[in-house]
């Protein structure tokens, strides 16, 4: 857990909880605020956990994680396979119950406030399919209505990620990349305060991945959406996120701005840190220079 200066996180918008405006999707959304109101008072964090622990039999998947994600932050949860990233995300989403510790999302304590908390959260994962018997617009309308939008603007939502032409396609007719894009559109349809993405660009080609990144960056910038993402693409994380949290063996081992974390571990970039934390030396990367050279600017 890291501390933040109050001045940096001073609210940029009015903090009236019910303030609303028209969103780029043509629907009413609340003004982005840096505050949530909960039983414990005014807080500037969208996610708070304390001592979060999860065991599966003899395996401790998550071990005493204390995490705070502040409003408007773009945070990447990184770590090798089996480090506990997805388990942590699933606990934050109320799908997996922790053995120890507590979770507060958007000012609502889980599990009691799960429904209210999830109304403020959007989730997408590269591995989730679309229900095969629904067309894309039906799927999005269904989820829009679950989040309280009687008639969501499907076309505008799809257009934001350049896939408006998929509106009448069936889930089974989409490529894996298109399914991922539609899943992300579903996640942002209701203008969530917190967007949780698990490996969102894992199955996307570079062009589509760029479109996703651009769309997400615009969303975070325009609507003040907080982003919590897991990814194995370190270059993508460096571009999108202003903070990285490394998890290894269920514990947070590094937390900070990408450049700070890299320098703290004596690496040139996040990939060096990743390999070091995964127990592999940087010298084992034969293509390190090539990857850096090929990395596009921006």
């Amino acid at each position: 857990m890291r501390s933040r200066s109050n001045s940096r996180y001073a609210p940029r918008w009015p903090t009236t909880k019910s303030a609303s405006r028209a969103s780029p999707l043509g629907k009413k959304v609340r003004e982005p605020t840096n505050f949530y109101f909960c039983h414990s008072g005014c807080v500037d964090t969208v996610v708070r956990t304390s001592g979060l622990t999860k065991r599966f039999g003899d395996v401790t998947a998550v071990d005493g994680v204390d995490l705070r994600v502040h409003v408007g932050e773009r945070v990447a949860l990184l770590g090798p396979n089996g480090a506990g990233k997805t388990t942590t995300l699933l606990m934050l989403l109320g799908v997996v119950a922790p053995d120890e510790g507590w979770i507060e999302v958007a000012g609502h304590r889980l599990p009691r406030g799960r429904s209210a908390a999830m109304a403020e959260v959007g989730f997408a994962a590269g591995y989730l399919p679309l229900p095969e018997r629904l067309k894309v617009d039906e799927y999005l309308r269904f989820y829009g209505q679950l989040y309280g939008l009687p008639d969501p603007d499907i076309e505008a939502a799809l257009d934001r990620f350049g896939v408006a032409q998929l509106a009448r396609a069936r889930g089974t007719d989409l490529s894996s990349g298109q399914r991922t894009l539609v899943g992300i559109v579903k996640a942002v349809l209701h203008g969530p305060r917190l967007l949780v993405l698990d490996e969102p660009t894992a199955s996307l080609d570079p062009d589509v991945a760029l479109r996703v990144r651009t769309g997400l960056q615009a969303l975070c910038r325009d609507e003040g959406t907080t982003l919590l993402i897991t990814s194995h693409n370190m270059v993508e994380v460096e571009r999108m996120c202003d903070r990285v949290v490394f998890i290894a063996s269920g514990r947070i081992v590094a937390d900070g701005a990408p450049a700070d974390v890299a320098s703290r571990f004596g690496g040139a970039d996040l990939e060096s840190v990743f390999l070091r934390l995964a127990g592999r030396d940087v010298a084992e990367r034969p293509f390190e220079r090539t990857q850096e050279t090929e990395r596009p600017a921006g």
Binding site: S18, S20, S23, K27, K28, V29, R30, K54, F56, T87, L90, L93, G94, V95, V96, A97, D99, P111, S115, A116, M118, A119, E120, V121, F123, A125, Y127, L128, P129, P131, E132, R133, L134, E138, R141, F142, Y143, Q145, L146, Y147, G148, L149, P150, D151, P152, R170, K186, H190, G191, V196
Partner: protein
């Protein structure tokens, strides 16, 4: 949360319930084989049991008429249990088959809203199935359901609850044991069918099974159904016993317990 802000809690719940019902309408629309449950199987059942009824009642004897009536009224009432149970259980299984559970569980949808949505569309399927049974029985075997009178409504209502309770137990077991337990969605009905005395009084069962049959709520509801056919009116005592035996609270508690186990043990990984 956009327009959700303008809706009251009750309006929001109703919107979600309608959304779930509509989602299952699309499933029925896009999966014609699902129509078998509400058209073909009811038709086949009535043809089968109606033909047996015609066979056992060639001379229109009193005993033969009774047996024929029990068979046809029994299959009609059985489809109330069948349709309500299958609609709810397969509605949930559809989410498991299409790996949609995680998406639903990370949405603000509450468990009760989901069940209510599936039940709402299940009622549409129930009416379709019962309409097929009734019209087939009338058209092919001159068996008019309305002859049973208004007393049919409370009997059918109790059997509706029986179907839902069985479905809640099935869903709970699927949550706990995975889709391997889905065979129960259909299989459990084949256990309940003979033990409930759908077509005969349970004294016709082997004596060793009678206590088990007595313990089933469906047994008492079907006994009330046969009383209607016999012209004995509504047996409110039997219906009361049936309702008591439904253990709706027990089914809900069991389901919530299994859901808690599902979350504690991280069984969502089975569906992602």
């Amino acid at each position: 949360m956009g327009a959700g802000l303008t809706l009251t809690g009750r309006q929001l719940s109703w919107l979600r319930i309608k959304a779930v019902a509509k989602r299952h309408y699309y499933v029925l629309l896009r999966a014609p084989h699902r129509l078998f449950d509400v058209t073909i199987w009811p038709l086949v059942d009535v043809l089968l049991f109606g033909s047996i009824a015609t066979f056992v009642n060639p001379a229109h004897s009193t005993a033969g008429r009774l047996a024929a009536g029990y068979l046809l009224s029994g299959i009609l009432l059985w489809h109330v249990v069948y349709q309500s149970q299958i609609a709810l259980a397969t509605g949930f299984l559809e989410e498991a088959w299409t790996r949609n559970l995680l998406n639903l569980m990370v949405s603000p949808l509450r468990e009760a809203e989901y069940v209510a949505g599936v039940v709402l569309f299940g009622m549409v399927k129930l009416f379709m199935g019962i309409a097929v049974v009734s019209l087939t029985a009338l058209g092919f075997f001159a068996f008019n359901v309305t002859d049973l009178g208004i007393g049919l409504i409370p009997v059918a209502a109790v059997l509706l609850v029986v179907g839902w309770v069985i479905a809640l137990f099935v869903i709970a077991l699927v949550l706990r044991f995975g889709t391997g337990a889905e065979a129960l969605a259909w299989g459990i009905l084949f256990v309940v069918l003979p033990l409930s005395g759908v077509f005969y009084p349970i004294r016709a069962l082997p004596w060793v099974l009678r206590p088990v049959a007595e313990a089933l709520p469906s047994t008492h509801a079907f006994a009330a159904g046969r009383a209607l056919f016999d012209g004995r009116g509504v047996l409110w005592g039997e219906l009361g016993l049936a309702l008591l035996g439904c253990v709706v609270g027990g089914a809900v508690t069991f389901l919530l317990h299994m859901l808690s186990t599902f979350r504690t043990r991280g069984y969502i990984s089975r569906y992602t």
